[in-house]
C-alpha cells in the first residue's frame, strides 16, 4: 500500500470556537489512502468523522481553525488557493453526503445539475454532456434515465436522490470519493444496493474511496482498511481483515458488540456502551473512553494513550490495556 499514496492526512487538528469554549472536533489525526483503495472511518455520532472529511475537502464551517497537512496528489489542500481547490473538488475529489439534498439544488432539474457539473469540469458540448449524464444515471441504477433528467429532486425517493448525488459525484471521474454516511438515512435493501453500486464503480474506475459510517457491519465486507474514531481521535486503525480478526481497542470491540446479532435469540440484552462520549469542549486528561471502558484502570484516567503498533503489520491502537491477542473477546 505504500506505493501510490493518493491522500495523506498528517497531524490534522480542527478547532471550533463555541460559546462554551474551544471545541476540538478533530484531534491530531493521521491517515493515508492509496490510489484505488477503500478506507472505512467508523465511530459514534459526534466523534468527528464529518469534520475530518470536511477538513480533507476544505469545506469546514467558516469559524473552524484547521491545522496540519492534507496532502492530495502532491498538493497540500490546507494551503491551496480557493480557485484551485474549487476545480479540484469537482474533478479529482468528490463527495456524497448523508442527506443527498446537501448536494442537490431543489429548484433545478436533475439533468441541469448533472450536465452543468460535467460541462464545468470536462470539455464536452451539450449533446455529449447530456449523453454522459444519461449513461451515468443508468450506471447508478436509475430506470428510464432520459425521463429522469427532466425531474426535480423532490420527485424522487430518498434512495433515488442518493443515486443521483452519486452520479454527480462520479461524473468527472474523481480519483477520490468521500461518502459520509451515504446510506444512514436509507432502508436496508436500498443501503445494500447503494453500497454495491459504490463498490462496483470504485473497482471499475480504480477510484479511491473513504466510507464513513457508525456501523461496523457496513465496512466489514467493503473496505481495505478501517480507522475507528473516538472523541476526535483515531483510536484504532488496521487492515479490515486484521481488525475483525483481532480488535485491540476496547471501544472497537464495544461498537461491534452493540450490534444486534442475527444468531442471538430474541430478547437477548445487547451489550450497550453505557453513557455517551465526553463533551468535546471539556477534553479529558486521560483516555477519552475511560468513563465508559470496562477495562479502564491505572493511568487510563490520567494519561492519554498514543496510537502505537500492534504485532500485526499496519495495525495501530491507542490503549494501555489492549484486548489480548487470541482472547477473541467478541461473541
Amino acid at each position: 500500500m505504500s506505493s501510490g499514496v493518493l491522500l495523506s492526512v498528517e497531524d490534522v487538528v480542527v478547532d471550533l470556537p463555541t460559546p462554551r469554549g474551544n471545541l476540538r472536533a478533530v484531534d491530531h489525526v493521521d491517515l493515508a489512502v492509496g490510489a484505488g483503495r477503500t478506507l472505512g472511518i467508523v465511530g459514534e455520532s459526534g466523534c468527528g468523522k464529518t469534520m475530518l472529511s470536511r477538513a480533507i475537502l476544505q469545506l469546514l464551517p467558516r469559524k473552524a481553525r484547521p491545522s496540519g497537512r492534507v496532502m492530495f496528489d502532491g498538493q497540500d489542500l490546507l494551503r491551496l488557493p480557493a480557485e484551485k481547490l474549487r476545480r479540484l473538488r469537482g474533478r479529482s475529489l468528490a463527495v456524497v453526503f448523508q442527506d443527498p439534498m446537501t448536494s442537490l439544488n431543489p429548484v433545478l432539474t436533475i439533468g441541469t445539475q448533472l450536465i452543468e457539473t460535467i460541462r464545468e469540469h470536462l470539455e464536452l458540448d451539450l449533446a455529449e454532456a447530456r449523453q454522459r449524464g444519461v449513461d451515468l444515471l443508468a450506471a447508478v441504477g436509475i430506470p428510464a434515465p432520459e425521463q429522469r433528467l427532466e425531474q426535480y429532486p423532490h420527485q424522487l425517493s430518498g434512495g433515488m436522490r442518493q443515486r443521483v448525488a452519486i452520479a454527480i459525484a462520479l461524473s468527472c471521474e474523481p480519483k477520490l470519493l468521500i461518502a459520509d454516511e451515504p446510506t444512514t438515512a436509507l432502508d436496508v435493501t436500498i443501503q445494500a444496493q447503494i453500497l454495491d453500486l459504490l463498490a462496483r464503480e470504485q473497482r471499475r474506475r480504480h477510484m479511491a474511496m473513504i466510507i464513513i459510517t457508525h456501523d461496523l457491519g457496513v465496512v466489514a465486507g467493503r473496505t481495505d482498511e478501517v480507522a475507528v474514531m473516538y472523541a476526535g481521535r483515531v483510536v484504532e486503525r488496521a487492515p479490515t481483515s486484521a481488525l475483525f480478526k483481532q480488535m485491540r481497542m476496547p471501544y472497537t470491540e464495544a461498537l461491534l458488540a452493540a450490534l444486534p446479532k442475527l444468531d442471538a435469540a430474541p430478547h437477548t440484552p445487547l451489550p450497550a456502551i453505557s453513557g455517551r462520549p465526553p463533551d468535546p469542549t471539556r477534553p479529558l486528561k486521560g483516555c477519552s473512553f475511560a468513563p465508559r471502558c470496562r477495562y479502564a484502570a491505572g493511568r487510563c484516567n490520567t494519561e492519554k494513550p498514543s496510537l502505537s503498533r500492534a504485532e500485526t503489520p499496519g495495525h495501530l491502537y491507542a490503549c494501555f490495556h489492549p484486548i489480548e491477542t487470541g482472547a477473541g473477546a467478541v461473541a
Partner: protein
C-alpha cells in the same frame, strides 16, 4: 385468514384497508391486513419505506380513519367508538415516533412535556402529576431533578428518545406502538434504547408493536415478526423460525440485505433490485412480483393469500421457499 396469536389477543386487526387521496388518485397504503397481538407479546413489523407500516400504526390508534376493516382492542372495536369511550380506550395505547427530537415541542420544558398526557387525561392534582413524572423519568434512566426544567434542544437524540418513552409510559398504558424508535440513533445508543424498551416492557407489563425497517433490530426484541410489502402482509411467524427458514422471497431478500460485521462473509449479491413500485398503481396479483426472482404468470394474475407454511408461520406466496 386469521392469524391466531392467542385465544384472547389484546389487539386484533381484521381486513384493514387504509387509503390516502392524492391529486385525484388513491394511495393504497394498507390493503386488507389482518393481524393479532397476544397480551404481553412483542410483534415486530418490518418493510421498506412507504410500505404502510406507520399508516397501519396510526390506523390502529384511530389517528387515520380506515376505509374498511376492524380494529379490536381488548375486544372493543375502536373503528366504531366515539367521544369519551374512544378517548378512554386510546389512553391505554401510546405511540413512540422515529424522530425523537422532532416529536418534542421545542419550547416546552421536559417536565411539562412528560406531564402533558396526564393533564389531558384529567389528572388534576399537581402533586400527583409531578410524582408520576418523577417516577417515569427515573424509570427511563434520566435524573428527574436534572431534566424537568430543561428544553429538548439541550438533549441528545438518545436522551430525547428516553423522554419520548417516558411520555408514552406516564399513563401506564397496556399497549405501545413503537414506530421506528431507533432508526435515527447510532449503534451504541440504539442498543441502549432497545434494552430500555425491553426493561420497560417487563416493568409496565406492556404489549408492543415494534415497527422498523431493519430486520436485525426487529429480531432482537420481537417474539413474532410480520413482514409487509406495498400495503400487504407477506409473511408472519415466530422471529427465530422466520430468520432460519423464511418462506416468502421478500423476507429472504430482506435478511440478505443486512450488513454483517464479518469481512469473510461477502455481501450477498441477491438484494432486491430497484425500488418498490408506487402504491398508487400497485402491480396486479402479487405486489412483489416486479422485484421477485421467482415470479411467474400466476403471480401476475392471482393475489396470493396468507397460508400456513409451518406451525405458526404464514406466507402469502404462490411459490414459497419452504
Amino acid at each position: 385468514m386469521m392469524l391466531q396469536a392467542a385465544p384472547d389477543p389484546l389487539l386484533r386487526v381484521e381486513n384493514l384497508v387504509v387509503e390516502y387521496a392524492v391529486g385525484g388518485k388513491t394511495v393504497h397504503a394498507v390493503s386488507d391486513v389482518s393481524i393479532e397481538i397476544a397480551r404481553g407479546e412483542t410483534l415486530g413489523l418490518v418493510g421498506e419505506s412507504g410500505c404502510g407500516k406507520s399508516t397501519l400504526g396510526r390506523a390502529v390508534l384511530q389517528l387515520r380513519p380506515a376505509v374498511s376493516g376492524k380494529v379490536l382492542f381488548d375486544g372493543h372495536d375502536l373503528t366504531t367508538m366515539q367521544g369519551e369511550a374512544l378517548r378512554r380506550m386510546r389512553r391505554r395505547v401510546q405511540l413512540i415516533f422515529q424522530d425523537p427530537i422532532a416529536s418534542l415541542n421545542p419550547r416546552r420544558r421536559i417536565g411539562d412535556i412528560v406531564a402533558e398526557p396526564l393533564v389531558i387525561s384529567g389528572v388534576k392534582d399537581p402533586g400527583r402529576r409531578s410524582q408520576l413524572v418523577h417516577d417515569v423519568l427515573s424509570a427511563v434512566g434520566l435524573d428527574p431533578a436534572l431534566v424537568i426544567g430543561r428544553l429538548p434542544h439541550e438533549f441528545s437524540g438518545g436522551q430525547c428518545q428516553r423522554i419520548c418513552i417516558a411520555r408514552a409510559l406516564v399513563l401506564n398504558p397496556d399497549f405501545v406502538i413503537c414506530d421506528e424508535p431507533v432508526s435515527a440513533l447510532d449503534v451504541s445508543i440504539r442498543a441502549q434504547i432497545l434494552n430500555l424498551l425491553e426493561e420497560m416492557k417487563a416493568r409496565y407489563g406492556l404489549t408492543l408493536l415494534f415497527i422498523a425497517h431493519d430486520l436485525a433490530v426487529v429480531k432482537a426484541v420481537s417474539d413474532r415478526v410480520a413482514v409487509m410489502y406495498l400495503g400487504r402482509l407477506c409473511e408472519v411467524g415466530p422471529s427465530e423460525q422466520l430468520f432460519a427458514r423464511p418462506a416468502h422471497p421478500y423476507t429472504a431478500l430482506l435478511i440478505d440485505a443486512i450488513p454483517v460485521p464479518d469481512p469473510d462473509i461477502r455481501p450477498a449479491e441477491t438484494v432486491p433490485v430497484g425500488e418498490p413500485p408506487s402504491p398508487i398503481a400497485p402491480p396486479s396479483g402479487c405486489r412483489f412480483r416486479t422485484r421477485c426472482p421467482r415470479a411467474d404468470a400466476r403471480c401476475a394474475n392471482e393475489v396470493p393469500e396468507l397460508r400456513a407454511v409451518a406451525p405458526g408461520q404464514f406466507a402469502a406466496c404462490h411459490h414459497p421457499l419452504v
